[in-house]
Amino acid sequence: MEASYPVKQIIDDQGNFIDTSYTDLIDAKLARHLYFHMCRIRAFDRKAISLQRQGRIGTYPPFEGQEASQVGSALALGSDDWIFPTYRDHGATLTYGADMTRMFLYWNGRVEGCVPPDGKNIFPPAVPIATQIPHAVGASWAEKRKKTTNIAIAYFGDGATSEGDFHEGLNFASVFKTPTVFFNQNNGYAISVPIEKQMNSKTIAQKAVAYSIPGVRIDGNDCFAVYFETKKAIDAARSGKGPTLIESVTWRAGAHTTADDPSKYRPGEQGKDIVDPLLRLERFMKNNGYWDKEANSKMEAELNEEIEAAVTAMEQFSEARAEDMFDHVFAELPAQLVEQKESYLELLKE
């Protein structure tokens, strides 16, 4: 089976073309666009980790190592599409247009962090594993019913494939031919459980066979492979060809979350051979003369500013209000909730 799902690559670890059919399609603009976003989300990610260490935000799940997968796929989306992320996919949602200040707020336990910018169809990160998969199917089904060409993309991990909702969601998508892209990031682990213990199949892509939908396996650290293969799946969805399952083979470079210690379960040498996706793109850009040192340091400075500004905004954000715990449970508060709210606010005043 593995043989029938080869890992698709466009560039190799040294940043050289493997698939030369793309030489005309990839120019400086695209390379720099991808590179910018990968640098941006990495800077966010590292900042978040340090904020957590300083106790300025809560437990945080880093995505370092998965930047090519998240940026490549997010940039392939159109502005009216839907995105259903997990807790580790804010690299993708930030790239797609989520607000950075609110992203920090989310990781600081603020519900405000789930509210997307107006007009952006970004769903809150799914915490119960795999539950977002049927949501993406339903939202894209709605687009199909409205006769638009919009699609939905669901992000999920290797561990998520073990849950019933993965199966039920893909079955629905295949039966109703919904315009859905199932974007799996196979980062090798579900917390401490390696993929060999998660499933007996050598690939995740082959699980598409169960639904007779296309399954593709791509090098998730090759931002071009991710970008172009995701685009193909999106175009197929837009043109009524139905869903695709993409297995983006990548690597969780860090811990599951800042509360996790991978040294307990992950052999130290594991992953050492994996070339960082940013370095790989940098090599490609240098090989092709797209590398502009000045522009880069300028970019880094600007990103730094953007992030610092977002941190400040997060920390100066208005205090969390007890009222908000009550006010959004229903469109209209039932009498008993009004009572609970008022008596509690009374007590707070005392």
Binding site: F123, P134, G138, E143, V329, L337
Partner: protein, 339 residues
């Protein structure tokens, strides 16, 4: 999306003699006609019209796009309905029996009921989950559960349970028009047990209001759904013994109409609560609390609960032993009166 309104005009005050299941069918038909965003999903609801015929004829009239036979997949039905609901549709999802809602429990608990909260209203899930519930029709194992308390303990979803055709249509339309998710429980035993003249036109009954079925002085009887006929019979038998009862049909289980309970118990000083779900952690305990909170000083006797026992609903040879009967209710009534 565009909402073509194509209300079929009905003569004012026109009525039809319908069973509860027909009234439910009529309620869905009414909304499918008046709101293009409504969509029905479920197992065997299309051609087959549902195992209880609740959706009879709807697919033929509205097409396979709006009355959708889904795969056998409750979590898939609710999960995709969430996606449809946040994106402009009003799904009406049928769970074939309430005992088969459990595979979808995670979706309902962690998403359906919480999406408005977790997005501060940016996304909401206006959907209705219909579920036939209860024992007494000689159905196989697990087909007879009465699990309302598993959903009244779930902030963010309303729970409604009509006992007659008129309420069924009015509450169902109100549920479909509600901006928030509603679990709509249908007492199977009442589906065809009686007919009622009900308006052909569209009407709603406010969610959250109970209904006084009869006025009495001595005891307040509180029930809903399939237990209403039991309550009525027991009240009749009590009358014969000179005990007059207030009988309340709660109709909405969450949010509960505490005023109608308090007002009555303050008058009678005694209460008997009936439900077919298990006693422990059943909704009857909430009603005891409502009375404790509102009417403590008026109570003349401990509140009696007449409920299903703390055993799984038995196989049907024993189900009549499981269910509250007029005899058991009458015993409860007399106990409070003789206290």
């Amino acid at each position: 999306m565009t909402m073509k309104l194509k209300e079929t005009p009905h003569k004012k005050n026109e009525t039809a003699l319908l069973t509860m299941v027909q009234a439910i069918n009529d309620g869905m038909k009414t909304m499918l006609e008046s709101d293009e965003t409504t969509i029905i999903l479920g197992e065997d609801i299309g051609r087959n019209g549902g195992v209880f015929r609740a959706t009879e004829g709807l697919q033929a009239q509205f097409g396979e796009d709006r009355v959708v036979d889904t795969p056998l997949s409750e979590s898939g039905i609710i999960g995709t309905s969430v996606g449809l609901a946040i994106n402009g549709f009003k799904p009406i999802a049928e769970m074939q029996f309430m005992g088969f809602i459990y595979p979808a429990y995670d979706q309902i608990m962690t998403h359906v009921s919480r999406i408005r909260m977790k997005t501060m209203g940016r996304f909401s899930v206006p959907m209705v989950i219909r579920a036939p519930y209860g024992a007494g029709i000689r159905a196989p194992e697990v087909h007879s559960d009465s699990a309302e308390a598993l959903f009244t303990h779930m902030p963010g979803i309303k729970v409604v349970c009509p006992s007659n055709p008129y309420d069924a249509k009015g509450l169902l339309i109100a549920a479909i028009e509600d901006p928030d998710p509603v679990l709509f429980l249908e007492p199977m035993r009442n589906y065809r047990s009686s007919r009622q003249e009900i308006p052909v036109e569209k009407y709603t009954i406010k969610i959250g209001n109970g209904m006084k079925l009869r006025q009495g002085e001595d005891v307040t009887i509180i029930a809903w759904g399939a237990m209403i006929p039991v309550a009525e019979k027991a009240a009749d038998q009590a009358e014969e013994k000179g005990i007059s009862c207030d009988v309340i049909d709660l109709r909405t289980l969450y949010p509960m109409d505490r005023d109608i309970i308090a007002e009555s118990v303050k008058k009678t000083g005694r209460a008997v609560v009936i439900h077919e779900a298990h006693a422990t952690s059943g909704l009857g305990n909430d009603i005891v609390s409502v009375i404790n909170d509102t009417s403590f000083l008026y109570l003349k006797a401990p509140i009696e609960r007449v409920t299903g026992f703390d055993v799984p609903v038995p196989f049907f040879a024993l189900e009549e032993h499981y269910l509250p009967t007029p005899k058991r209710v009458l015993a409860g009534i007399e106990k409070t009166v003789k206290f």
